[in-house]
């Protein structure tokens, strides 16, 4: 026969209730919905809890209430600056709230994403923040039946699972090319790495802009599945020059590639922007202080994280955002590397 498993020093809700002279359930209510208590009891429970240094047992709460206060976050990469900015926004918003974060790394694999999703959902998260709109059919189906707030971040699409915050990568790339065209550049190359769905859409935007201007030439495109890096930017740019020596500008799908291309230009004593204009994407901090300064497309990553977290919290608190789809936009930042031609 099992004996009593008493935990000696531990302060439980019952202790707090006893000291406060109320029933455990009343003490419990104090932590969940203090307004439901009379002022007197509220004060008594509060001071009792403080005096005993009571800390609720989250496992017990989760078990009894059948829900947790964990918000699951699925991102494709931990090292990409883009996601660390988003993450920072999420953490900044959730920090100090009752919610905590469960973070997982899909490594750009939607299969991995599906696996992690099942893992998360099994523990009944309070909310979910997932990256992008390209989930497996199963993932989508699962998420559509789950009844917790879900925010898709990083990009916009026609059929949100629940809520959505991001911007149009297609439009952003198109605007970047529009800028280069307006500056007088004509033979604009494209450098892409990783080629995840969002990068793919930037390529689509490039293609559309160039086609509209009757300047599209597939020879001017160099892409790879390899993860991005500054070094890779240099390599891809060299490849591009080999394929299309006559280009006068290059659009890079991210700033690391742009920086790599810039260094490669320097190595070849190729003047930027006189002989080669460069435009990046994301507008990381260093773009403004390179020599020459590098043009880019600014995206609002930190705000995306903040808003995504805020949308989840608001929904959980019953104040569902009036607009479930938020376009954070972008802006083309024009710097020396794409100064007007001639």
């Amino acid at each position: 026969m099992a004996r009593k498993r008493i935990t000696p020093g531990k302060i439980r809700l019952a202790e707090v209730a006893k000291l406060a002279g109320v029933s455990p359930i009343t003490a419990s209510r104090f932590f969940r919905n203090p307004d439901a208590l009379s002022a007197g009891k509220r004060a008594r429970v509060e001071s009792a809890a403080k005096e005993l240094g009571y800390v609720p047992n989250l496992a017990a709460r989760a078990l009894a209430s059948q829900r947790t206060e964990v918000i699951g976050v699925l991102i494709p990469s931990l090292t990409n600056n883009v996601f660390s900015d988003v993450l920072r926004g999420i953490y900044d918003t959730l920090d100090g709230s009752r919610y905590s974060i469960q973070l997982a790394n899909t490594r750009y694999s939607i299969l991995q994403e599906e696996r992690l999703l099942r893992l998360f959902l099994a523990q009944k998260p309070a909310g979910l923040i997932v990256t992008g709109i390209n989930q497996t059919a199963d993932s989508r189906a699962i998420m559509e039946t789950v009844d917790c707030p879900i925010v898709q971040i990083m990009e916009l699409g026609p059929t949100p699972i629940d809520m959505m915050i991001g911007f149009s990568h297609f439009d952003a790339a198109k605007a970047a090319i529009g800028h280069l065209l307006a500056q007088g550049y004509r033979r604009i190359g494209f450098l892409g790495a990783r080629m995840d769905p969002r990068v793919q859409r930037r390529l689509d935007g490039y293609r559309a802009a160039m086609t509209d201007a009757a300047l599209f030439d597939p020879q001017n495109i160099v892409t790879t599945a390899i993860p991005t890096s500054v070094t890779l930017g240099g390599t891809l740019f060299a490849d591009l020059l080999a394929k299309a020596p006559d280009i006068d500008a290059v659009f890079c799908v991210n700033d690391d590639l742009a920086l790599g291309a810039l260094f490669e230009c320097k190595r070849r004593h190729m003047a930027v922007p006189e002989q080669m204009a460069i435009v990046g994407f994301n507008d990381l901090e260093f773009m403004a202080s390179s020599e020459p300064t590098l043009s880019s497309v600014r995206t609002n990553r930190y705000e995306m994280g903040r808003n995504a977290a805020a949308m989840v919290i608001e929904t959980l608190e019953g104040r569902r955002p009036t607009e479930p789809v938020v376009d954070l936009g972008f802006s083309v930042i024009e710097r020396q590397s794409s100064a007007r031609r001639g």
Copy 2:
């Protein structure tokens, strides 16, 4: 009187046990210690669990067993590349294991760190990974009484709380200065930002090396509490040149500052390394592909994360690492930016 709160569709351990024709406790053991079952029952429980798609309820497990399978990770910054590499190592190691990660951002504040530590510890984590050796006295005291594995990462110190993995920032900085001295540079400046404890120790290493060489001059040091950035690197370097126009080299406490200094040199048409040698710290990826390539001190951040997580797991599994303190070392990577003088 309370009525049955039955959860209709949910698969519990009891269902699995019934289908497998064993008692619930035997099924429970299958998930915790399969070797304790006979081969027959093991197979039966396994297939029953698979057939029903059983997923254990972690909250119930945590409540019943009085412990969790969460490893708490406290790092000072989410955006700093250095920490994202470490994090990646931790996630890569813990991914696929039974353990999950609870990540929190101390924002370089040891008070914040203490607060988060109390928060974590209240939920009885399986293990803890904390950054550095400069905790508040209270934090230290708390951690010393807790009985879960704790790994301090990023740097080494004389009195580990439990386990420790990192390298000597003092020695690493000293080695970098030693390299510059060996290359023939004499008036070596120092650029520091953020000035957290580890950066402080790099400054100590710089001071020691310069003093040993009888070349120390406080005029050659520029530091700020502002968080680091490439732009800041340019600004600080300009400040340094204003204070000490005769320097022939600069040691930057991280690679972002080094890159900023490089750009500032370019802006001033100052040849690197002929007129100004530059050495950074951490050896981020871009250092190898800048123009000129930038020397740096390579640190093993990813390995640090991997090992820290592995040390926690090993301890939890009863295979405590024989050596609780691991020095991962560093290496000075000599590139164009610090080529031999003259």
